[in-house]
């Protein structure tokens, strides 16, 4: 099943990107997470017709993509799903909202068109900003930032473990589906007679694995505490990064307030 191998290669590529040396990769995860969320909040705070203000907000993305040397190739692929969803929601707007808002040359732009465009731009911005975060920050670093934000340790620990075992289980699932496909030529998916046994076997094996993981933790002195440490503390540059971007983003927002 190509979805599985797609997912595996996607994870690989993201990792490769996050491993690259660069100034953006070097910034402490906490300010990066903060600025990302601020950018997202400001993005969605724009009203449905406020296209011009939203456009200007794009400087954040442009500056980081260009100066941070971030590959756009991966991003375009990720954009597909979200854009499809957003288009589905936005596509009806021009039909329902026919108020004329602008005149472009001789062409009348209706409110629906404007709100559809705004919605799509929001979709592009949101995916790009999250991509910027994950492509420059490893999952462990994000987990560390979450801990600093007092997200319960249990949730962060489970998040780390799920992330760690996704690839392992994806590969196991891939092997099983391949083995199945080889013995069931012509079938596109899993026949209903095999639903329970196939996924059930995988589940039982996963439970066994969980037991081994538990053993491995216990043998290494685990007593319910997971220690998460960041490689370094936030420095002056990190604070500066957060401060400058907060100022710029709020400034753009304030300037476009109705």
């Amino acid at each position: 099943m190509s979805r599985i191998s797609d997912a595996i290669s996607e994870l690989h590529k993201l990792d490769m990107e996050a491993d690259k040396p660069g100034w953006l990769q070097g910034i402490h995860p906490l300010p990066k997470l903060f600025v990302t969320v601020l950018f997202l909040v400001i993005t969605v705070s724009f009203g449905k017709y406020e296209l011009s203000g939203l456009l200007k907000l794009g400087i954040y993305l442009i500056v980081l993509f260009v100066l941070g040397d971030i590959s756009v190739k991966l991003l375009l692929k990720r954009m597909k799903v979200v854009l499809a969803l957003v288009c589905l929601m936005g596509i009806v707007n021009p039909f329902f909202d026919r108020r004329e808002m602008l005149l472009l040359g001789g062409f009348a732009v209706t409110g629906g068109m404007l709100s559809a465009a705004t919605l799509m731009l929001k979709g592009v911005y949101a995916v790009s900003a999250s991509y910027l975060l994950i492509v420059t920050t490893s999952v462990e670093e994000i987990c560390y930032a979450l801990r600093r934000l007092h997200v319960p340790k249990l949730i962060v620990t489970v998040l780390m473990l799920v992330y760690r075992y996704i690839i392992v289980l994806l590969k196991e699932t891939e092997r099983m589906t391949e083995a199945y496909a080889l013995r069931a030529p012509g079938q596109r998916g899993l026949d209903y007679k095999a639903w329970g046994t196939f996924a059930g076997q995988l589940l039982l094996r996963s439970m066994d694995r969980a037991q081994t993981v538990y053993d491995s933790m216990m043998l290494r002195g685990y007593d319910g505490e997971f220690y998460l440490r960041c490689k370094r503390a936030a420095g002056r540059g990190d604070y500066l990064y957060a401060a400058v971007w907060s100022a710029v983003l709020l400034f753009v927002r304030a300037g476009s307030a109705g």
């Binding site: 099943m1 997912a7 990302t36 909040v41 993005t43 705070s45 449905k48 017709y49 406020e50 011009s52 203000g53 456009l55 200007k56 794009g58 442009i62 260009v66 100066l67 979200v82 929601m89 936005g90 009806v92 707007n93 329902f96 602008l102 005149l103 929001k122 979709g123 911005y125 994950i134 319960p152 249990l154 489970v158 998040l159 473990l161 799920v162 992330y163 075992y165 996704i166 392992v168 196991e172 596109r188 998916g189 899993l190 026949d191 209903y192 639903w195 196939f198 996924a199 059930g200 039982l204 996963s206 694995r209 969980a210 538990y214 933790m217 685990y222 319910g224 400034f251 753009v252 300037g255």
Partner: protein, 331 residues
Amino acid sequence: MHMADALVSPAVAGTMYAVSAAAAAYSVKEIKLEDLDRKVPAMGVMGAFVFAAQMINFTIPGTGSSGHLCGGMLLSAVLGPCAGFLTMIAILAIQCLLFADGGLLALGCNVWNMAFYGCFVGGFLIWRMAAGRKMTKGRITAASVIGCIAGLQLGAFSVTIETLLSGITELPFAVFIGMMQPIHLAIGLVEGLITAAVLVFIYEARPEILYGYAQEDGGSSGRMSRKGTVTALFAAALVIGGVVSLFASGYPDGLEWSMEKVAGTTELFARGNVYQLAERLQGITAVLPDYAFKTSDSAAGTSFSGIVGGIVVLTACFFICVLIKKVKRSK
């Protein structure tokens, strides 16, 4: 059913974050009573399992299409509702971060729409009622199907309300809900059957894995207290009720509504000096003065010149950045 960031307004996102966080806090507290250190690795590995298993295409007999597994229901049936819910949060967070499924802002919505209903309504209430003390294959199947349908119906309803409250689509309520609910009824039925097939297999192979299997009447460990059940139900009712009444009372724009509550005004940015300065500076960036083109935008906050101005700013910014990079490289 993942909501995207672009589909939510800050108020909706914030509200849903708050209710999801409350449910998470409750689950963390409740789960501490169970044997936690053993549960942590199980949650991690089972989370990864659900993630992978959701990529398996289960062929639906008689049709060309395929369905998928219902994560929340399955996790609750194996780990219990609280652990299942927390595991689902981790899965959803990873989906939004690594696979752009959903989004950071919409995570609160997604946790509520999928994890909460899936685990607490589908996975807990119905699992407990139907599968309950005396598990049989029939009861497990019934619980899975009803649980999945109930969870998905509630989730789809929430998606509709959240999207409409965010004020991003012009789709009328009746049309939207008329599309969402029937589609998710079909999806729920299929997911329920698939989940049932897996759980029945587990029941036959290793029933002790299933949540609540080994517990006799007296053993309360691992079971949610009655108080907890009531609280969870009450929270769900409150949110659904609140959201519906909000919608019914005719606030199309959730943001404006919440601002009015919080600040007593719908004008977010009071006219302070900074804002005036910002506006003036932005006025300069708008190369084309407003009066050059006839517009009727005063209420909308967008003008043709504004849009062109925005594009000019972005282009200029792009070239400046490229220039900076070149200069840096040549050094």
